[in-house]
Symmetry: C2
Subunit: 215 residues, 2 copies
């Protein structure tokens, strides 16, 4: 089976899940923690080498503060949870802003845990414009490598496959440069309803796709 090296994860639908289950919206985020761990273990078993989770964005922090607090805490907890696994952890986002959680600052350079044989990246207080905002070229430079080396998320590699939960078919600012050639798979279930079978479905579909990198 052709396994993607790097999978991007957009864990959407926490608030809709909470509402459907009679909870207030912000209560949905905690329900996404175990799915995150289960997804990590499933992907690891299948031989995926790198995972990137879409934590929260600068856009998201404009939501009511009770929600902002809840998703920020969920991101901190998710990173801490993976410290107990064999993982090499990195948090990428605008860490100079007050919205960036203090507890995650030490992860803005990669930290290894256990065998550290799988890279796991979290986008935290990330913004596409923050990511591209560091590019500096002279007018004749359109070198891909120079772009790739100068974005703020340069430690995150090209994505092979992006899986989005919650039914929406859009990227919502997720790593615009690394997403360029990625295949995009959408799961209709909300993220808290994650099951390993979703990964199997996505990989079975990915298997049928060709890789052309735009050629």
């Amino acid at each position: 089976m052709r396994i993607p090296k790097h999978i991007g994860v957009i864990p959407d639908g926490n608030r809709r899940w909470a509402q459907n289950n009679g909870m207030s919206k912000e209560m949905g985020y905690d329900e996404g923690l175990n799915p995150g761990l289960e997804l990590f273990r499933t992907c690891k078993k299948m031989g995926v080498k790198e995972l990137t989770y879409y934590g929260f964005t600068v856009d998201n922090t404009k939501r009511p503060s009770v929600q902002t607090k809840a998703f920020t805490k969920a991101c901190v907890d998710a990173v801490k949870m993976l410290e107990n696994e064999d993982a090499s952890l990195l948090v990428v986002g605008n860490h100079k802003s007050p919205m960036f959680p203090e507890e995650l600052k030490e992860y803005t350079t990669r930290k290894d845990f256990g065998k550290a044989d799988m890279k796991v990246n979290f986008l935290v207080n990330y913004g596409w414009n923050w990511d591209l905002g560091n590019l500096k070229f002279d007018e004749t430079t359109t070198s891909r490598n120079k772009i790739i080396e100068n974005i703020n998320s340069k430690d995150i590699s090209r994505l092979d496959l992006i899986i989005r939960w919650g039914g929406r078919r859009r990227l919502s600012g997720f790593l615009p440069v690394q997403s360029i050639y990625a295949d995009f798979y959408v799961v209709d279930d909300y993220w808290p309803d994650f099951k390993p079978g979703h990964i199997n479905e996505a990989l079975n579909w990915y298997e049928t796709q060709d890789v052309t990198l735009g050629g």
Copy 2:
């Protein structure tokens, strides 16, 4: 009905269509011309204000020259075809390269035809890295407007909806900045099998989506 202002069109599957119909691959491109016109007219009738067609990319020009010639000619013909419509035409791409067709140079600034009440953009010899390659910031600038004003495709507005024909679920370098919040709809039929019903399907689906712009 909620009509997207700006639709991006990825007209993929010409070569696969040709092969399925017993032709050599490069013969598929010509079959995409009438669909392009029909799509324009359908969208216009529905009140869409701007259309962007993915013509060809710098990546594509690495294909066998018989194909490169065929898709370049099809792009030139597509632009010329729309001169007879009420359209405001713009061609965006690396026009300093020899792969850019001479005949389209005059369209690298917008040209109005008839009532010119719909913007139509064509990406011709376009590359995502060419597009981003002009960005210049000082380190503290992550302003969205500054990014949007400095990309090489700055005359093309934000996309609301992207429709890709040919079944593949990826952007393949299509306007990474304008695509950030776009909804992405995939039609399994190959582009030469376009029918106006595809637009109805896509718009019916789009109608059910919310617009959050990342919020």
